[in-house]
């Protein structure tokens, strides 16, 4: 990577002290499909819109929410292919940690290492920053956790957060609806209602995706049938 004519960084400072490429990356995230996450007292839920470019696309083959480890899951807003690369790298880092310590990686450590990778792409030669923001949901010895990671590599722990197209409406809705002692099922209902807020058209189990993790410490993507059940409860 460093031995070509592009061994200089493409991400350079502007006179105002901003990294313009990262600003543009955030714009790419901001025009991506809405995703959100809510941390409950006994678990975490993450959800996203799954608007496919055409009705001919086989929606069962598209999975936007992925596992990084059995007890950590992730969703994104922004560029799908960039997300795939990060998922692959994070999964490898989690497995390397497991191999070294024979202990599953704590959520904070995995988030930090993923964020380090993202930051490296803002300061290396011949590469561009990632055009995704991630929401990482996990449950370990410290309890349920929800982290957001930005294209700059900065990460924050959230009680509830949203990203993508409808971010400001979604966040306002979440601010009103969030309570500290919310349980996981309530959080899933709130997540669905938040997605509905900015949704163009009718929310169904075919055009949203929900992943959850509870005190059982197993991250799982809900099946369309389960989503239908929650949608019925919300009506």
């Amino acid at each position: 990577m460093g031995d070509s004519q592009y061994s200089f960084s493409l991400t350079t400072f502007s006179p105002s002290g901003k990294l313009v490429q990262i600003e543009h990356a955030l714009t790419a995230v901001g025009s991506g499909q809405t995703s959100l996450g809510i941390k409950a007292s006994n678990g975490v839920v993450i959800a996203t819109e799954k608007k496919l470019p055409s009705i001919l696309v086989d929606e069962a083959s598209v999975q936007k929410i992925q596992n990084l480890t059995p007890n950590i899951g992730v969703v994104y807003s922004g560029m799908g292919p960039d997300f795939r690369v990060l998922v692959r790298k994070s999964r490898k880092q989690a497995e390397q940690y497991l191999r070294l310590y024979k202990e599953p990686i704590p959520v904070t450590q995995l988030v930090r290492e993923t964020a380090t990778v993202i930051q490296e792409f803002t300061q290396s030669g011949g590469v561009r920053p990632f055009g995704v923001s991630l929401l990482v949901a996990g449950y370990d010895d410290k309890g349920p956790q929800l982290y957001q990671v930005d294209p700059s590599g900065s990460y924050f722990s959230w009680k509830a957060s949203a990203m993508g197209k409808n971010v400001s409406n979604a966040k306002t809705f979440l601010e009103k609806r969030y309570t500290e002692d919310m349980e996981l099922d309530d959080a899933i209902h709130t997540a669905i209602l938040t997605l509905k807020e900015g949704f163009e058209g009718e929310v169904s189990s075919k055009n949203i995706e929900i992943g959850k993790i509870g005190a059982d410490k197993v991250f799982r993507v809900l099946t369309p049938a389960e989503i239908d059940d929650y949608l019925a409860e919300v009506e």
């Binding site: 191999r99 070294l100 310590y101 024979k102 202990e103 704590p106 904070t108 450590q109 930090r112």
Partner: protein, 204 residues
Amino acid sequence: MSIFEYNGSAVVAMVGKNCFAIASDRRLGVQLQTIATDFQRISKIHDRVFIGLSGLATDVQTLYQRLVFRHKLYQLREERDMKPETFASLVSAIIYEKRFGPYLCQPVIAGLGEDDKPFICTMDSIGAKELAKDFVVSGTASESLYGACEAMYKPDMEAEELFETISQALLSSVDRDCLSGWGGHVYVVTPTEIKERILKGRMD
């Protein structure tokens, strides 16, 4: 003479009731000559994990320094101490990195895990872990130590009785080994305190 017998060493760890004891001899020799009688083979990684290293003294010291380095970084990054099982896995991985030019030591790891459950293990010089429920031994006096521990050990001993048992096992074993001895260094660790004691045995 094997390189593992160049400096002479004896290390033993035993499990008690919610406590453990780890002990070593104090002799540092260069083959038949005794150079020091206060060599430290057991070191504290943190309040609940100890490691004793037998074998070539230079590797004992270097490996200890590397492990402390790794643990300090772990503590800073993860804001917690390493569990003994995790530490043992780390030691095994670090040792195996040198598979074809190994550290000439055999570690003995002892610690208190979750719920104050004692944990001991040993490994060979290329990282093969051996967990035990009762005792583990290592060093030039290991054969005598196996015999002494097997005879003297009983499960669920309290801290004081464990101290007596491990001390007797250590002293009687090093007396049968010309390369180890010159007293003993015993740590008895319970959830509330760490008791360090020096033993005076046959000073030869």
